[in-house]
C-alpha cells in the first residue's frame, strides 16, 4: 500500500474528529493533528483505535507517541502493515 493510498484513507479515519473539513481535504505529511486540525488530544486515542481496526494492526505505546502529524501517522501505519506480511 502506497503512502498516497494510506493518506487518502486516513482522511476518512480522521473525519469524525475534526470540524475543519476544508483543512482535512488538503492535508499533507506536515499537517499537525492537534494544532492544524484542532483535534481534541484525547481523540487521538480514538483515531489510533480506529486505524488499528481498519488495518488490523496493533499500535503500541511508543508508536502511538510518534503519531502527532499526518506524516508520522502514515509512517507508523505502513511500518505495522509491513510487519504483518
Amino acid at each position: 500500500m502506497t503512502r498516497q493510498e494510506i493518506l487518502s484513507e486516513l482522511k476518512t479515519v480522521i473525519s469524525p474528529y475534526t470540524t475543519n473539513k476544508e483543512m482535512l481535504a488538503g492535508i499533507d505529511d506536515q499537517t499537525d493533528l492537534i494544532k492544524d486540525l484542532k483535534i481534541n488530544s484525547a481523540n487521538l486515542v480514538d483515531i489510533i483505535i480506529d486505524a488499528e481496526a481498519k488495518y488490523d494492526i496493533e499500535i503500541d505505546y511508543d508508536s502511538a507517541d510518534k503519531m502527532v502529524n499526518v506524516g508520522t501517522c502514515i509512517d507508523v501505519i505502513s511500518e505495522k502493515l509491513s510487519e504483518k506480511i
Binding site: 481534541n40 488530544s41 484525547a42 481523540n43 486515542v45 489510533i48 483505535i49 505505546y61 502511538a64
Partner: protein, 168 residues
Amino acid sequence: MAENIAGNIILNSSMNNHILNHLPYKSSFRFVDNISLLSENEVRGEYTLKQDSFFYEDHFAGNPVTPGVIITEIMAQIGLVVLGIFLILKETDLNFSDDDENLFPLLTSTDVSFFKMVLPGQKVTVVSKKQYFRFGKLKCYVEMLDSEHEVVAKGMFSGIIKNIELKK
C-alpha cells in the same frame, strides 16, 4: 475476593469503598455514596441527592430540580473516575496515597441524553461499562437509573487522569 462467571474479580464492598478515599472531590462536590460492584470492565455505584445541596436553592427558585450538569457529574464520578482510579491502581501497583496529590481526573468528552427528572432526596444508581482503557484514556458507556430501575440518563463518557503540578 470471589470470581464471577465472567472471570472478573469482584471485590467486596469495603474494599470497593476504599477507592472512595482516592477521590479528589470533597463535601459539596462529591457525588458517590457507595460502590456496589467494581471489576475491570464494569462499575456500579449509588448516590442520594441531598435535600440541602447548594444548587437547589437557585435551580429553580421554589421548584428544586437536579441540574443536568450535576447528573452528568454524578455519572462521571462513579462511571469514569472510580473505574479509572481502580484501573490505574491495578496497572501500576503503585501506592496511590503517597503520590496522588497531583493526580486529577479530567473529563475529555461527554454525550448524554436525559429522560427523567431527579428531585432532591432521590437515590440514583449509576452503571458503567468500559469500552476501552488505552494510552491513559478511559471511555465508558454510562447509564443512570432511578429507584424504579428506569433510565434517567445515558451516554458515552471519556476522560484521562493527569499528573498536574499546580503552582503553589
